[in-house]
Symmetry: C2
């Protein structure tokens, strides 16, 4: 019996094409998901929407650093992948509300493990980086 915890038994095969004949990483299950989440703003917007639905302008104020272009585009990417629902209210001027779908909530539940880990351990990572950089400094 495999003594490793379940979480350690992710199969490397999951990174390859799901069907023979498909080449490269285009069809890789993991990359299908990570490519969208790896962007600079996706996890941030997902965290906001996990809290509650928000409108475009509210998100903009919530994340002042994001440009309007990237806010629009990231939301579109998340909607395209089925994580986010976009609802237009034909008021005047119009308002648009964004919310997580069931798929999005399901995915965020998994992602939250990483976000939680990051909250708890980012200092350890920073410390490791500083040590690595200090060691590299001595060599040059």
């Amino acid at each position: 019996m495999d003594a490793r915890p379940v979480s350690m038994r992710i199969k490397l095969e999951s990174y390859r094409a799901s069907k023979d004949g498909e080449r490269g990483l285009a069809n890789c299950p993991v990359r299908t998901v990570i490519d969208t989440l790896g962007g600079r703003w996706a996890t941030l917007l997902l965290s906001a929407l996990a809290e509650k639905p928000y409108r475009f302008g509210e998100l903009r104020r919530l994340v002042p650093d994001i440009s309007q272009r990237m806010l629009t585009q990231t939301l579109a990417d998340l909607q395209r992948d089925g994580y986010v629902h976009r609802e237009v209210f034909p008021t005047k001027p119009p308002s648009v509300e964004y919310s997580l779908t069931d798929l999005g909530r399901s995915m965020f539940e998994a992602l939250a493990h990483v976000l939680g880990w990051a909250e708890r351990n980012h200092q350890a990572v920073r410390t490791a980086r500083a040590a690595y950089d200090r060691a590299a400094e001595g060599i040059e």
Copy 2:
């Protein structure tokens, strides 16, 4: 009392600087972690190393698509963040073994939730994308 599951209560503040005075996303706890993991090869190499330690050449054969440049660089990034331990054996010619550190194993345990979700749900994501693209097609 907050009825949301623990995983939903990731605080948006975690994305901001950990200390006042630090501006932008440079000091964001989540970005500190995600910036490294978001790359094209990091999760793939971590999955391999979670299985067992590997040498440079073994990793290269395991992941034929990766260029030598990116294999070296990604491993260095992972080592710098403290996820990976690099051990040089002064044989001739030299061999170098890479393995997960305790920090790396801890982090991968969280990451595995996302990888597992991706394995189980990538088809749903692909389906959502196809539907979105089909709808967009009709408009143009």
